[in-house]
Amino acid sequence: MIIKQDNGWSPYFAGALSGLLLVFSVGVAGKYFGASTTFVRTTGMVEKIFGADRVAHMPYFIKEAPIIDWQWMFVIGIFIGSLIAATLFGSFCWKSLPNTWIEHFGENKTLRAVTAFLGGIIAMFGARLADGCPSGHGISGSLQLAVSGFIALICFFIGGMIVVRILYRGGDQS
């Protein structure tokens, strides 16, 4: 498959515009960015199909009710916005294995799927325990100079660096 060369925009430029977007969102709607609560709400909606009574009595689903709110739509919007940009600039392509992964672990799609799935479970459990992810704590928290935001951001990177050091020890295969 031939993919047109697309180097995107400078991360400084895209980052600064994202900062402006956030300021605008806070000023107009009073909403800070975040993503991980949406996963709780969605899981709550799915669990409600199988046992509405049980979900209604679970403290965490009472705290973060299984409803569609601003952030839920925001997260869906992220998917749509990325799809639009990727299509518009010709960088959309179906891929089940990232390049860095192939270089080190080869082309086993099941191994990648299992690792991504397990990683997702641990990441979300951690994000809920920390009360935020890189959007909520890392960006929104630290830009408000919240102590929790900076501590979370540092811990995210420490945990990630340890895992990646173990996964990618010994350099690349090729």
């Binding site: 991360p11 895209a14 980052g15 600064a16 515009l17 994202s18 900062g19 402006l20 977007l21 300021v23 107009v28 996963f39 899981t43 679970m58 689903f61 709110d69 601003w70 739509m73 925001f74 997260v75 919007g77 992220i78 749509i80 916005g81 990325s82 799809l83 940009a85 959309f92 179906w94 990232p98 990648r112 799927a113 299992v114 690792t115 991504a116 990683g119 997702g120 990441a123 979300m124 459990f125 809920r128 920390a130 992810c133 890189p134 959007s135 704590h137 960006i139 630290s142 408000q144 100079l145 102590v147 935001g149 979370a152 995210f156 420490i158 945990g159 990630g160 660096m161 895992v163 990646v164």
Partner: protein, 175 residues
């Protein structure tokens, strides 16, 4: 309803910028954790610097409220490290996983399914964690200006200068 349309619109613009900044790729996220490609650091710190100035200007003019998350060391440190471990395995964070799926990255889909399961497991564990880990080292909703006892603009100016110094250093290192 306006709330929902506002959320969707903001999300679409954010997703667009994430894709254009190329920060949603596994290679970029793992590249940062391997200290080989600092694209996501450049992106995040640029967002934070602009956001910091803008939000505190609005705050000083009484146009905006802060929404500070409490600093509960047990939750933030243990949860933060756990998140990092999962992030290193997955290579996407919750927001970027959705954006990566929008670019056609199917492995992000497995990550999203995993994250939904993780959220469910946390909901099961919450009553137990609430009375243990989430009571350890609870300092409430504190900010750096409060802790250091100085005006927020001093910290903001310092933060921006440090960020520029870091950017220059990253530039010389070519990462």
């Amino acid at each position: 309803m306006t709330d929902l349309i506002g959320g969707l619109t903001t999300g679409i613009l954010f997703g667009f910028l994430l894709q254009r900044g190329q920060v949603i790729r596994y290679d970029k996220q793992i590249g940062a954790l391997r200290l080989q490609d600092m694209t996501i650091i450049k992106y995040m710190l640029s967002t934070i610097c602009v956001g910091m100035v803008g939000v505190y200007l609005l705050y000083d003019m009484n146009f905006a409220k802060l929404a500070i998350k409490p600093t509960i060391l047990g939750g933030v440190v243990i949860g933060g490290l756990l998140f990092g471990i999962g992030w290193g395995l997955l290579g996407y964070c919750p927001g970027t996983a959705l954006a990566a799926l929008g670019e056609g990255r199917l492995d992000a889909g497995w990550g999203i399914l995993g994250m939904l399961v993780g959220a469910g497991l946390y909901a099961e564990a919450y009553p137990m964690l609430k009375n243990s880990v989430l009571t350890w080292g609870d300092f409430g909703k504190i900010t750096l200006p409060q802790v250091l006892g100085i005006n927020h603009w001093i910290i903001i100016v310092f933060f921006i200068f440090s960020t520029f110094a870091l950017f220059r250093w990253l530039h010389t290192k070519k990462i």
